[in-house]
Amino acid sequence: MTENVSLGMPQLPAPAYPDDVRARLEEDARAIIDRYPGSRSALLPMLHLVQSEEGHVTRTGMQFCADLLGLTTAEVTAVATFYTMYRRKPSGDYQVGVCTNTLCAVMGGDAIFEELQEHLGVGNNGTTDDGKITLEHIECNAACDYAPVVMVNWEFFDNQTPESAKKMVDDLREGRTVEPTRGAPLCTFKETARILAGFPDERPGAVEATGGAGPASLVGLRLAKGETPQTRIVHPRGEAAGQEGA
């Protein structure tokens, strides 16, 4: 038999979602479509929605989007493959992204990414055998004043070191609660994808978690208010920086 050999032939239509899943997703999708004057605008949030169901964008998910929006699957695939947040194969519960754009890389992001690859035994975009962690390097995530930065399910882990990052992935694999420096206690990738589809996080305390602004966001304000002694020229970075509160 040749079932394992890809001949590049056209594939059969994607299997549909089971009826109950489809009915549930369709209700959510209608709510998304209602937000926009033009229905096609719902496509990006709907791709987040199908990721919240299956953890990645499947052919079934793309067919679902195409059906509801009156698009061809080619049009949907073109969009789904353009954006980096859509995962195209089964991946972990926690998407761990190490910023390796220039500033974070220089400040230690390269070292963190290297040590995490070794520690987890996976390469870029690899998933650990237990299905918990997918590791990738990411581009600038708008937190350069907290470099080096690691994102997990798109929550901020600021001022990281190789040690803090390794401990964090160990905790995730052991099932311990992991809290970011800015953001809410981690939920799974699928739950995060639902928030991205535009459905607010209903967990109590999620919005207020980690308080107002992070510490680096406040340095200018504190100086302006005369709250920072000017003689202080050595900023405590490193060990304590990862645990600083608001």
Binding site: P37, G38, R40, S41, L44, P45, V79, F82, T84, M85, G97, T100, N101, T102, V106, M107, G108, A111, I138, E139, C140, N141, A142, C144, D145, Y146, A147, N153, W154, E155, F156, R182, G183, I195, L196, A197, G198, P200, D201, A209, G212, A213, G214, P215, A216, S217, L218, V219, G220, L221, R222, L223, A224, G226, Q230, I233, V234, H235, R237, G238
Partner: protein, 449 residues
């Protein structure tokens, strides 16, 4: 940095001017209650008392210029929207902050989302729009959460929805999360993305003011630009123009990052210098000196320690050969290899090029090949001119500014650090130790692993 002498003449209380960041240190700074306690939604009341045309003229008179990079006058953008054309008008806020080094809108939205919402209501009243969008990059879920909550609060309080504050103004506000693509920070790519397409820039004209979202007149503004509007209305344009310079009035967020003692957000009148910011905040990390820095993200030509006294406003930075951009001051000290830094930025541009225009798509690919070879010690002297040549063939030859941005670090690093490139070639490798550049390099000296 020399500290004692400078500090007396530059006290931070005098040099800084927190407006948007004024109450970020309050507990629950992001809530409607905190915002209203700090004169929130007062600017909106003043705006609604004016006619839309007067409001546009007022914002134009204030001289507010776009804070997203290009510096285009905000009021003029609003004025370009045709009126009485029978088409719906849209306001789209560009919250796709992704330019390397740029980190102002994300902390602003995390700590004070209502300033944006209030600014959006004012802008929509001015341009006669009944539906506004916030296009937030997807990779910042903590900010998305707070925007969802702030919009919910604003609807509940009657600031959004129908007949806002009894003015007859109706406004729907939709928060839209992107899905990971730097190019969507370019305004026409953002509009394509918001329409559910691949984020690829459009050819202009027509400009978005004529044919933007759904081919209707659309204003696309940066987060910080719109969030600055309520304070202008509340405190007056005279107050605003009393800060900064004639052509670059007002306050703005400067984001200091890299090898500095106190990285973070510094809100100051336009025209402050990097030297003043470093002097007040402790300077470069102890024992090190500034080597190169960007005034406004990686797409703005880099500066060196010769440029410490350049006034950081639109004209000052322009006259010194760069651009104010997003005021993302990424500072690198002498431990940093400039070839490594530029190679990584170029890899970024190659990765994020949408592929629509050949010069950018192919040019960034070839720049990466050459730079990787040079960084690894496999380069030739002729490669340096080739880099310049390829960058020249990208610059200004594509639909959008991504290609220009990719060329900036190449041109500027070759201008200031050509010897360092040559060192990589003659020495057949990189003379720098990346371990010395890390944030923890000097903390663990006694426990060398």
């Amino acid at each position: 940095m020399t500290l004692a002498a400078e500090i007396n003449s530059s006290s931070p209380e005098k040099l800084l001017s927190p407006v948007l960041s004024a109450f970020w240190d309050q507990p629950d700074s992001w809530t409607l209650e905190t915002y209203e306690r700090h004169e929130g939604y007062q600017g909106l009341r003043r705006a609604l008392a004016m006619s839309p045309d007067d409001l546009i003229a007022y914002v134009k008179d204030s001289g507010l210029r776009g804070r997203g990079g290009a510096g285009f006058p905000t009021g003029m953008k609003w004025q370009f929207i045709p009126q009485g054309d029978g088409k719906p008008h849209y306001l789209v806020v560009n919250a796709d902050e992704s330019e390397p080094g740029t980190c102002k809108d994300i902390p602003l939205l995390f700590a004070n989302p209502h300033s944006l919402i209030e600014g959006m209501i004012i802008a929509c009243y001015a341009i006669r729009s009944e539906h506004a969008f916030i296009y937030l990059r997807g990779e910042v879920v903590p900010v998305l959460r707070r925007l969802h909550e702030a919009v919910r609060e604003a609807y509940a309080a009657g600031y959004l929805g129908r007949n806002i504050l009894g003015s007859g103004l109706n406004l729907e506000l939709t928060v839209h999360a992107g899905a990971g693509a730097y190019i969507c920070g370019e305004e026409t790519a953002l509009l394509d993305s918001l329409e559910g397409r691949r984020g690829q820039p459009r050819l202009r004209p027509p400009f978005p003011a004529v044919a933007g979202l759904y081919a209707c007149p659309t204003v696309v503004n940066n987060v910080e630009s719109i969030a600055s509007v309520p304070a202008i209305l509340n405190r007056g344009k005279e107050w605003f123009t009393s800060m900064g310079s004639e052509k670059s009035p007002g306050f703005t967020l400067y984001s200091l990052s890299g090898h500095v003692v106190s990285p973070g957000q510094y809100e100051a009148p336009l025209g402050i210098t990097l030297r003043q910011l470093l002097d007040m905040s402790g300077g470069m990390r102890p024992g090190h000196r500034l080597k190169f820095w960007t005034p406004g993200g990686s797409s703005t030509p880099m500066f060196t320690d010769e440029h410490l006294d350049v006034p950081l406003d639109y004209e000052g930075v322009g006259a010194a050969g760069s651009m104010l951009g997003t005021k993302a001051l990424q500072c690198f000290d002498e431990t940093t290899c400039v070839v490594r830094a530029v190679t990584r930025w170029t890899e970024f541009y190659a990765h994020e090029s949408c592929g629509k225009c050949t010069p950018c798509r192919e040019g960034t690919y070839w720049l990466v090949q050459l730079l990787r070879d040079i960084e690894a010690g496999r380069g030739e002297m002729a490669d340096l001119d080739k880099l310049n040549d390829i960058a020249d063939n990208i610059n200004g030859k594509s639909f959008c500014a991504l290609g220009d941005g990719a060329a900036s670090p190449i041109f500027s690093s070759l201008k200031y650090f050509r010897e360092e490139y040559e060192q990589h070639i003659t020495g057949k490798g990189c003379p720098f130790d990346p371990a010395k550049s890390t944030a923890w390099a000097d903390n663990h000296k006694e426990v060398t692993a």
